[in-house]
């Protein structure tokens, strides 16, 4: 006799029949009827109509029947709140039952009934159960507090349940401790500001003790809770790590990964010289590898996390390459992840093996996988120079297969290889050209066109090849169109005699027949360049391109650090911070790795020790999402940001006119000041041409959106100063300061009413200023400002306002209006609010630019008695978007080479010589070079403010 019989009654009067059975006198019949009801529920049938009848069965001695009724209640109480009240008495009575099983069951079920009226009755029984003599009841009650909090947080707080819950952390039973921690974490998660889980060395010790004794699930809760703790010094971190490491051998993979999270996080605090650091590194590898022999779903999550771990600490798994080799019957989602990690681990030592594997994969059946494998070969070539030759020949072999998608992928990656190793592998171009006709994907077409344009002088029939693409110009994707435009211009500059017609044709296609503003703008720029000064055009379009960086698609370091704190969570699977995707955006706190501190030192203030590693060590990152930008800067137009100077100013002015930017009023006397970035930016950011000045910020916005840069950084904020005293403004006092956070500038204002009348109708306006600062939103003062009242307002600013050169440069004239009058004042803003997040220049570019800027533009300044050492200087400046490009030690003096970029695209390069003065203070010598030398003075002031505060 099986339960499937319950599914057989699908006749019309089913509900009616069940009703009769539920009201039967016979216990057995009742029970059978409830079972039938439950069975209907399991397949999603609506049996809520039976609510009163089922509730009637609740008062019974039969535990099974009671449980079944409870199951039903939990499902339907919400839809029948009035009826559910009927059940309350039974619950309350059951909470007093001598059998702990029944007490626990009652309190547990009651908590699951999400009906306000019932909740009120729950408080008393819950209070008793939290202090029950039986730990089973206590641990169930602990969870119930979390449930109740979810329904009515205020009630839980008023009733003092939170304190009782905190007391349970010291319970003698580890299971109770684990559940209390779980409940508190859940409650704390919905109130990030509340200080519920007040972790201190004592409570940590209790948790660590309970960790050894509670169930696997409890261990996960405790470990996740531990991960939120910041030990006070490296010794405490080490001792916690020592007690957590045994969890790495647990059979439950979730326990293992939570332990890995704690260790990865606390390791950050340990000095690398410590023996224990090395021991820990060695201990981390085996459990991670073991996760890969689990079920495929577990493998997938593990691989996503390992992907983060190998980026953060590649040394952990560097000898474990082989476990990531793909088996042909792995699910595709596992295959793709393994491949990704293989490339991250590829090095000179193992490249031969990796390549052999990749070649094997490239002949598999699954198209996505094959594509990725081909791409991986290209990435290996770029990453490991010694292997480049072998990679190229492997790619050529693959092209010979003539499998369409293989050929296309191969061409895309070969283009990157050309960019990395110029003048080395061009001999293969002929082979590539043979496959021109088979390319049907935009990316592959664009890559091929780039190759033809770039090496036009070596390809005899380059013009024919490009012309063939031109026929269907309007059907091509934008990517291909842009590339074709650039390629033909390149061709023209290389072989002007034969290709005049072609270039005319493409320019008119781009400028006259296209609706795409990017394409049109680029067309006009070329046209103007070519018509005004072909020599300059040559230098722009055919300029030497910077090499592409070794590692593509690395996760941006600050995001990586944040994600390390989220190992094992959904965030780690999606490689996005939880704030990016959690429903409802409940105030998610950004987590950051603890700073490395020695036990003797006091903790540094967060400002001086940002979460990221020192900038000098970070690899250059081209965010994948930023492809559009990367393409434009690196591939299409010759000189990227801050590239080689342009020969003549007339061309420059031409370009500027075209863009119609208001920059010239600021830079009118410094034509060279308008370097590459403005020139390149409009197509990238796709802003209307008359917004020339906004381009810089447009670019940085792009970065911010795509890679989440700078979530942890915030520039230095000066204390508020009085800008408009009350006596000058009929009783309105305004003080304020400027801040820059996560790429957005704001003006933080404090308005005080010192008059005797109420003030309303506030509005604000800025006069034109040097950098186009303007309010991004109207001034919002919600209520009228009564006498003696003060409001704090943060006014977001942007830099798309009109531009006029001011004296001094950072002068801002502001008009504030209220119901009384209009008032004017002016203030000076610190220049560092204009330093954008993507102001880090590539090393080579830095060198080139430094040389190119004439020496007379160099300005020297002294900063005396700076209380920081080189390391701290660098990190503090970085949090205000001054980036250290390189660092050198010359005769005991630290030299920092730094770059920064203003919102309007002006680059400033700095050389900072740090002279160790007396032990606690250093003297700094600052040399600034910029194409617009008048900003130097203000940049120096920004330096001084940032470093001395």
């Amino acid at each position: 006799m099986t339960d499937s019989k319950y599914f057989t009654t699908t006749k019309k009067g089913e509900i009616f029949e069940l009703k009769a059975e539920l009201n039967s006198d016979k216990k057995e019949k009742k029970k059978e009827a409830v079972k039938k009801v439950i069975a209907s529920m399991t397949v999603g049938k609506d049996v809520s109509a039976l609510f009163p009848d089922v509730v009637n069965c609740m008062q019974t001695d039969n535990l099974e029947l009671k449980k079944l009724v409870y199951l039903y209640l939990m499902n339907y109480a919400k839809s029948q709140p009035d009826m559910a009240i009927m059940a309350v008495n039974t619950f309350v009575k059951d909470c007093e039952d001598p059998n702990p099983l029944i007490r626990a069951l009652a309190v547990r079920t009651m908590g699951c009934i999400r009906v306000d009226k019932i909740t009120e009755y729950l408080c008393e029984p819950l209070r008793k159960c939290l202090k029950d003599e039986d730990p089973y009841v206590r641990k169930t009650a602990a969870v119930c507090v979390a449930k109740l909090h979810d329904i009515n947080a205020q009630l839980v707080e008023d009733q003092g349940f939170l304190d009782t819950l905190k007391d349970l952390i010291s319970d003698s039973n580890p299971m109770v401790v684990a559940n209390a921690v779980a409940a508190l974490s859940e409650i704390a998660e919905s109130h990030p500001s509340s200080n519920l889980l007040d972790l201190n060395p004592q409570s940590i010790n209790k948790l660590l003790t309970a960790l050894n004794e509670c169930t696997e699930w409890g261990q996960i809760f405790i470990l996740d809770c531990l991960a939120n703790y910041t030990p006070k010094d490296d010794r405490e971190a080490q001792s916690i790590c020592e007690r957590v490491t045994p969890r790495l051998s647990h059979a439950n993979s979730a326990v293992v990964l939570s332990a890995v999270k704690v260790l990865m996080k606390f390791m950050e605090m340990l000095s690398k010289d410590l023996d224990y650091y090395g021991t820990l590194l060695k201990k981390l590898a085996p459990p991670l590898v073991t996760l890969l022999s689990a079920e495929p779903e577990l493998q997938y999550v593990a691989l996503r996390n390992i992907n983060l771990i190998v980026q953060k600490r590649p040394e952990i798994l560097k000898h474990e390459m082989k476990v990531f080799f793909v088996k042909y019957n792995d699910p595709i989602y596992v295959k793709l992840e393994k491949l990704d990690i293989m490339i991250r681990l590829a090095s000179q030592a193992n490249i031969a093996q990796v390549l052999a594997e990749l070649k094997e994969y490239a002949t598999e059946v699954d198209v996505d996988f094959v594509r990725k494998a081909v791409r991986a070969i290209g990435r290996c070539a770029i990453k490991v120079e010694q292997s480049a030759e072998r990679c190229v020949s492997t790619l050529l072999d693959l092209i010979q297969t003539k499998v369409n998608y293989v050929v296309q992928e191969a061409i895309v990656v070969i283009k990157d290889i050309f960019r990395k190793y110029p003048n080395k592998y061009e001999s293969v171009i002929a082979t590539l050209c043979e496959n021109l006709d088979s390319l049907d994907e935009p990316e592959a077409r664009a890559a091929m066109i780039w190759i033809v344009g770039e090496y036009a002088e070596r390809i005899d029939n380059a013009d024919e090849l490009l012309e063939s693409f031109l026929e269907g110009f309007h059907d091509e994707s934008t990517q291909v169109q842009l590339q074709l435009l650039t390629a033909i211009v390149k061709l023209f500059l290389k072989k002007p005699t034969e290709t005049q017609e072609l270039v005319q044709q493409v320019l008119s296609l781009a400028t006259q027949d296209s609706d795409n503003p990017d394409l049109r703008d680029r067309g006009y720029i070329y046209w103007r360049l070519l018509s005004t000064d072909p020599v300059a055009a040559k230098e722009v379009v055919l300029a030497e391109k910077p090499l592409i960086s070794e590692e593509t698609d690395l996760i941006e370091p600050t995001l990586l650090d944040e994600l390390i704190c989220y190992i094992g969570t959904l965030a780690s699977v999606y490689h996005k911070p939880p704030s990016a995707f959690v429903e409802g955006g409940r105030g998610v706190v950004h987590k950051s790795l603890p700073p490395r501190t020695a036990s003797s030192e006091s903790t540094e203030s967060p400002e001086t020790a940002p979460a990221g590693a020192p900038s000098g060590e970070q690899p250059d990152v081209i965010p994948t999402q930023g492809d559009l930008l990367g393409d434009l800067l690196n591939l299409d137009l010759g000189p990227p940001v801050g590239g080689p100077p342009l020969a003549t100013s007339s061309v420059q002015m031409g370009a500027v006119d075209l863009l119609g930017g208001g920059l010239d009023s600021l830079m009118g006397d410094e034509p060279e000041g308008i370097g590459g970035p403005n020139f390149v930016a409009p197509p990238a950011a796709a802003v209307p041409p008359n917004l020339g000045t906004s381009m810089g910020s447009g670019l940085s916005d792009l970065f911010d959106l795509t890679s989440g840069v700078g979530t942890l950084s915030g520039s230095y904020v000066a204390p508020k100063a009085v800008w408009l005293p009350a006596m000058k403004a009929k009783g309105l006092e305004i003080s304020g300061t400027f801040t820059r956070q996560v790429g957005s500038i704001s003006m933080d204002l404090q308005l005080t009413n010192k008059a005797l009348q109420v003030m309303t109708d506030f509005a604000i306006q800025f006069n034109r200023n040097s950098f186009g600062l303007a309010p991004a939103a109207p001034l919002q003062v919600h209520a009228p400002l009564s006498p003696n009242q003060t409001v704090e307002i943060s006014l977001p600013l942007n830099t798309v306002g009109s531009v006029m050169k001011m004296e001094p440069l950072n002068n801002l004239q502001v008009a504030v209006k209220n119901n009384i009058d209009v008032f004017y004042f002016s203030t000076l803003y610190p220049l560092h609010i204009l330093f954008v997040e993507d102001g880090k220049m590539d090393r080579q570019m830095f060198l080139a630019t430094w040389k190119d800027i004439p020496n007379e533009n160099e300005a020297q300044f002294q900063i005396r008695d700076c209380p920081l050492n080189a390391e701290a200087v660098s990190s503090r400046l970085q949090s205000s978007n001054i980036f250290t490009v390189a660092k050198r030690n010359v005769e005991g003096q630290d030299m920092l080479y730094q770059s920064l970029k203003l919102t309007n695209g002006i680059w400033v390069l700095a050389e900072l010589r740090i002279q160790p003065g007396n032990p606690s203070f250093t003297d700094l010598e600052l040399s600034l070079k910029c194409r617009a030398p008048e900003v130097s003075q203000h940049v120096y002031q920004a330096y001084e403010t940032i470093l001395k505060n």
Binding site: I38, K67, A251, K327, Y328, V573
Partner: protein, 430 residues
């Protein structure tokens, strides 16, 4: 200062669970909080369709308001609905535990078994998870709370009207050894250990090993009365450097003395699992000679494989099966085995050759012709061979149990250790 919750209240872990069979029917749903409409599964079906193959459905799927985390077990999908940030491994481990429990209770984890026992299933799910916190997942405890169905019990229950729900608190639930119930009694006290090692390997065309490692487990079947305290020691414990333990094992003892010391759960359980990866310790017991070729512009190809023993430590290799996923263009295969039998499924293109034992005197081989779809280009890819085998009385890593001691009880138990080596994911590329 606290505000009431908005649209979606936070819910740790699993909000709802749907069980779905291979034909896409949702045959069971369980909601731990509010009811989530079945329509949420449409996102899952969409992903399933995209994946083509059931095994390729990604385990984490995001939908506008929920995340779906699923596992695929025994031709069933366990799809859980998640609303907030949770550790996905937690959920996946839990889902596997649910499937294990069904297996344990009903003998199989199938749609039929679940439908036959739907009420028990419901009671189990309720007992295993409370508000997203796992409550009781140890089979020992669950069985005390909810009795597994037996033919005898359902007969008795229907006669006496007693229930299959325990009405006392399980004894192990709160002790420091939650995995063991108190008051266990056996007339024959026995302790058996199975050392099972699986070789995962990738062998390349030329026969050299690209990758090989051993995944080992020690499964125990312990039927001992009272509270026995066991110590299991090995001849060569140094082999075990990457080990996962059952919670019952005292980690400190292992760290200091390399002895497994534990109070065992009652019945069957996995004591440890381990991995031996260092290449020179992993012997490869078989080799395959193969020649698979397709002729250009003709509709046939040749297929020839031979299997032989290698590093088999003098033991017989048995239970050999070779499975090959042939390329799509293969229509049929016409082969002759010297031993065993073969089948070729023209729909899935899977060739299975059931070889049996290897006798070194006469190596088993399978030869013949492959018929290809005429006119189709010759396949680019070469099929990989998947090999299954078994070697009794051998742990290929060389791991050997030294002795088992029992403390805490007076009686003399009967003890036994069995070794077996199998092929895990053993692939030969051609």
């Amino acid at each position: 200062m606290y505000t009431k919750f908005k649209l979606f209240s936070p819910q740790k872990m699993i909000h709802s669970l749907f069980l779905i069979n291979c034909s896409g029917d949702i045959f069971l749903e369980k909601h731990w909080k509010s009811v989530v409409s079945q329509s949420v599964c449409d996102y899952f079906f969409e992903a399933q369709e995209k994946a083509a193959d059931v095994e390729n459905v990604p385990p984490v799927i995001s939908t506008p308001h929920h995340y779906l985390i699923s596992i695929y077990r025994d031709k069933l999908f366990f799809v859980s609905v998640i609303q907030t940030e949770v550790p996905p491994l937690f959920v996946i481990e839990f889902l596997h535990r649910v499937a294990d429990t069904f297996q344990d209770y009903f003998g199989e984890c199938s749609e039929a078994a679940i439908k036959d026992n739907v009420v028990i299933v419901y009671e189990l799910l309720e007992e295993m998870l409370d508000n997203g916190f796992p409550l009781a997942t140890e089979s020992n405890i669950l069985k005390e709370l909810i009795k597994p169905p037996t033919i005898l019990r359902s007969v008795v229950n229907s006669i006496t009207g007693s229930s299959n729900v325990g009405d006392t608190l399980p004894t192990g639930q709160l002790s420091n050894i939650p995995w063991r119930r108190a008051g266990v009694k056996y007339t024959n006290n026995e302790a058996y250990f199975d050392v099972v090692e699986e070789i995962d390997a990738i062998i390349d065309k030329s026969g050299s090993t690209v990758f090989a490692e051993i995944q080992g487990v020690i499964d125990a079947c312990i039927k001992l009365s009272g509270m026995p305290d066991l110590s299991l020691s090995f001849m060569n414990p140094r082999l075990l450097d990457d080990v996962s333990f059952h919670p019952c094992i005292r980690f400190k003892r292992w760290e200091s003395e390399r002895v497994l010391s534990f109070i065992p759960p009652d019945g069957n359980f996995r004591l440890i699992s381990y991995r031996v990866s260092s290449q020179n310790l992993v012997a490869i017991p078989v080799y395959v000679k193969h020649s698979i070729s397709f002729k250009e512009n003709s509709s046939c190809g040749r297929f020839d494989i031979t299997i032989g023993p290698k590093q088999n430590m003098g033991k017989t290799i048995e239970g050999i099966t070779v499975t090959v996923h042939m390329p799509k263009v293969v229509l049929n295969m016409n082969l002759t085995p010297t031993q065993g039998s073969y089948t070729f499924d023209p729909v899935t293109k899977v060739l299975t050759w059931d070889v049996g034992k290897i006798t070194p005197q006469k190596l088993p081989s399978l030869k013949g012709l492959v018929n290809l779809q005429s006119g189709a280009p010759k396949p680019e890819e070469n099929p990989s061979l998947n090999i299954q085998f078994k070697i009794q009385q051998l742990a290929i890593s060389g791991l050997k149990v030294n002795r088992l001691d029992m403390y805490g009880e007076k009686y003399k138990p009967f003890k036994g250790v069995k070794y077996v080596t199998k092929a895990g994911k053993f692939q030969v590329r051609t």
